[in-house]
Amino acid sequence: MASSGEVDVLHRNNVKISGKPDGRPIVFAHGFGCSQEMWRLVAPAFERDHLVVLFDHVGAGGSDLRAYDRSRYDSLHGYADDVLEILDALDLHDTVYVGHSVSAMVGVLAATSRPQRFGALVLVGPSPRYIDEPGYRGGFSQADIDGLLDALDANYLGWSSELAPAIMGNPDVPELGDELTASFCSVDPAIARHFARVTFTSDNREDLRAVVSPTLILQCSDDIIAPRAVGEFVHREIPGSRLVQLAATGHCPNLSSPDEVVAAITDFLR
């Protein structure tokens, strides 16, 4: 396996940098199913005060698909190592890491392995374990996860057409500009299947206690993927963490209620 020294990390993860060059760095990590486009309604709000870093996990968006190594990405540690390599490549310190969905746990793993790079963690809709266990309710059974893989399969053919350049230019939503073309929320189907398995079978409950960075948990209303009880579990396990209940419903407040997300993060960093 190539070491980080031999890999162009910024190219591999399609890292995009904007904002204030000497501002406090804030890194946004997208979850399963999409790409850094997930943050397009949130990230710009931080460009005035922060160095804003966006990236795609390998297999998503504009990442380098050739870098997909099944051994490396067979656990969330591989994704956490990628995050650390990005922070190293940009030499970021006191970083605010904002992770949505599975990337919340990716951030927990990265921040517990090298806390000195991190200044704060923002976990949006985190779940350390999706599958129910005795004494723990994650919300899903193994059969449900198999059902997700079937749903992915059923969309397999549809996905290949989505990978083709999408016809854009929705006149009602002018801010969705021309740059959203081939890489728009695109994911490689075979990689998505593996990523789904890795995401939804991981168990990171024990890793929460080791978090030492100041942590904000953003809990959505009616989020079936990360229910309230799970958010409260994360809050209990991470020492000193703060939990904020959002009015936003569903699992993607970064799209459905970006202003509320921006306000909660800004308030936490103040």
Partner: protein
């Protein structure tokens, strides 16, 4: 022109009936129609959809569209369908499994479009839903058939690649690297390590690192590798499974960030025996097919290891004396040629020591060949421990030995020869009590001036010097300088 068309052209009959009511068209369209608020709350649904799913309009309006989906479908909707819809404004032909009122699943294909509200407030999502039962069954059959074919192809490919890598391995180290690489490739293992048993059965690390940080390079008796080797089966350790029984190992796995370990024994064929450990960063389960693939790789590996070990044994047999383990005549000849060639280039001195045991025939005659062999092995051990690093000791006849001393002057060679005589003179206690033995030694030295002699000439001179020592009364060293 047909009669009917002709009549229509002349206005004799009316146009074909058109939909008289858009309400009716909406309700009974040949697809489901569903409108939701931007948060997914169902606002309106048509009769076709109600018919297909068995719900009443009151059951659906006000509830969440996501609640209609199977749990797996809901995850997909939340992580994929909704984000794309929100970002792109529309999605087409997304496959979503809908749960009917009777608990069965209706596979559907959904087209959705976001309709912005005129005042810029939250809009609507309009969806057209198509029954995809037959199409989806067909596609899933195809997909599953393809996946089965791919799995079996993948299996063959993994085995072929492993086999090719094993075949290309000339040494145990290269073989072990190939085996570790094959396991990583086959099972997406984060790390792999290969232990091979030495003659005493100890498992020594040859490739990779022990996944749970055992300090030395020997697999401990209570390690997963040793246990797999004892049972002869593929062993799967999960951290959660061993936490109570083996807390130390479980803690080591935690620190190494591994959730699952497998240990696969190489089936013992002759002396070939070892084990390969694979480590995984998340909890993994292996079905019977995956376990069988572990075993198939191990079988191939075992055969390859047996071949490599046989080759190295044959190489040893061709170059080393079987009784004493010293260089044989063939190797001595090669080494002497090399040493003289180097001496020629560098004009350095070379010494050749020829050594013949005194009274060995008597040992053989009186005590038998077994005792004679024991004495030869003992003498060989003494030669090995007496010569200097860099000297090459060999046996070229029954009780005739030779030492090649590179870059060695006459004085140094004589000192070596005298040390050898001293070592040989020591009592043979424990080997052949009450016996002792001595050696007649001849040393031929070329001092480096002029051209170095041919190997045969140097040997002839040393051999002649040895005979002079014999005639001088044995237990003597004779040195000649060429």
């Amino acid at each position: 022109m047909t009669d009917a068309a002709g009549r229509r052209a002349h206005g004799e009959i009316g146009p074909p009936a058109v939909e008289s009511s858009f309400e009716d068209l909406y309700e009974h369209a040949p697809c489901g129609h569903l409108s939701t608020a931007s948060d997914g709350t169902i606002l309106r649904v048509n009769s076709t959809f109600l018919e297909w799913t068995g719900y009443s309009v009151d059951q659906l309006v006000g509830s969440s569209f996501a609640d209609l989906l199977t749990p797996g479908g809901r995850i997909f909707a939340e992580t994929r369908y909704l984000p794309v819809l929100r970002l792109e404004g529309s999605v087409k032909e997304v496959a979503l499994p809908v749960r009917r009122a009777d608990g069965t699943t209706l596979p559907t294909l959904v087209n959705s479009v976001v309709v912005e509200a005129a005042d810029g407030g939250p809009g609507l999502i309009r969806s057209a839903i198509f029954d995809a039962t037959s199409r989806q069954d067909y596609e899933l059959d195809l997909l599953n058939a393809r996946r089965r074919a791919e799995t079996s192809e993948e299996r063959v490919r993994v085995l072929q690649r492993a086999s090719a890598a094993f075949l290309a391995s000339a040494s145990e180290a290269a073989f072990a690297e190939a085996l570790a690489g094959s396991m990583q490739e086959a099972f997406a293992a984060t790390a792999a390590a290969v232990y091979l048993a030495d003659e005493s059965g100890r498992l020594e690390l040859v490739a990779g690192a022990h996944p749970i940080g055992v300090a030395d390079d020997v697999e401990p008796d209570d390690g997963p590798g040793a246990e797999a080797l004892r049972s002869g089966r593929v062993l799967v350790w999960s951290r959660s499974g061993i936490r109570d029984g083996m807390p130390t190992a479980a803690q080591a796995m935690k620190e190494a960030r591994f959730e699952t370990l497998t240990a696969t024994p190489l089936p013992s064929a002759g002396t070939a025996s070892g084990v390969v450990l694979s480590a995984f960063g998340r909890e993994r389960t292996f079905d019977a097919e995956a376990i069988a693939l572990h075993e198939a790789i191990a079988r191939q590996a075992s055969e390859a290891l047996a071949r490599i070990r046989l080759q190295s044994r044959l190489e040893r047999m061709a170059l080393y004396d079987q009784l004493t383990g010293l260089a044989n005549r063939q190797l001595l000849k090669t080494r002497l040629g090399e040493v003289l060639a180097a001496a020629r280039r560098e004009s350095g001195p070379t010494a050749l020591v020829v050594l013949d045991l005194d009274g060995f025939k008597a040992v053989n005659d009186r005590m038998g060949h077994m005792a004679g062999d024991a004495v030869l092995r003992e003498i060989a051990d003494r030669l090995r421990s007496t010569i200097r690093p860099g000297d090459v000791a060999g046996r070229f006849g029954g009780d005739e030995f030779m030492i090649i001393c590179e870059n060695t002057t006459a004085a140094s060679a004589e000192a070596v020869a005298d040390r050898l005589r001293g070592a040989i003179n020591l009592p043979l206690t424990g080997v052949l009590d009450d016996f002792s033995i001595s050696a007649s030694i001849g040393v031929a030295v070329h001092d480096g001036a002029g051209s170095a002699p041919a190997a045969a000439d140097l040997f002839a001179a040393a051999d002649a010097a040895m005979f002079r020592s014999k005639h001088a009364g044995k237990d003597v060293t004779t040195v000649v300088v060429l």
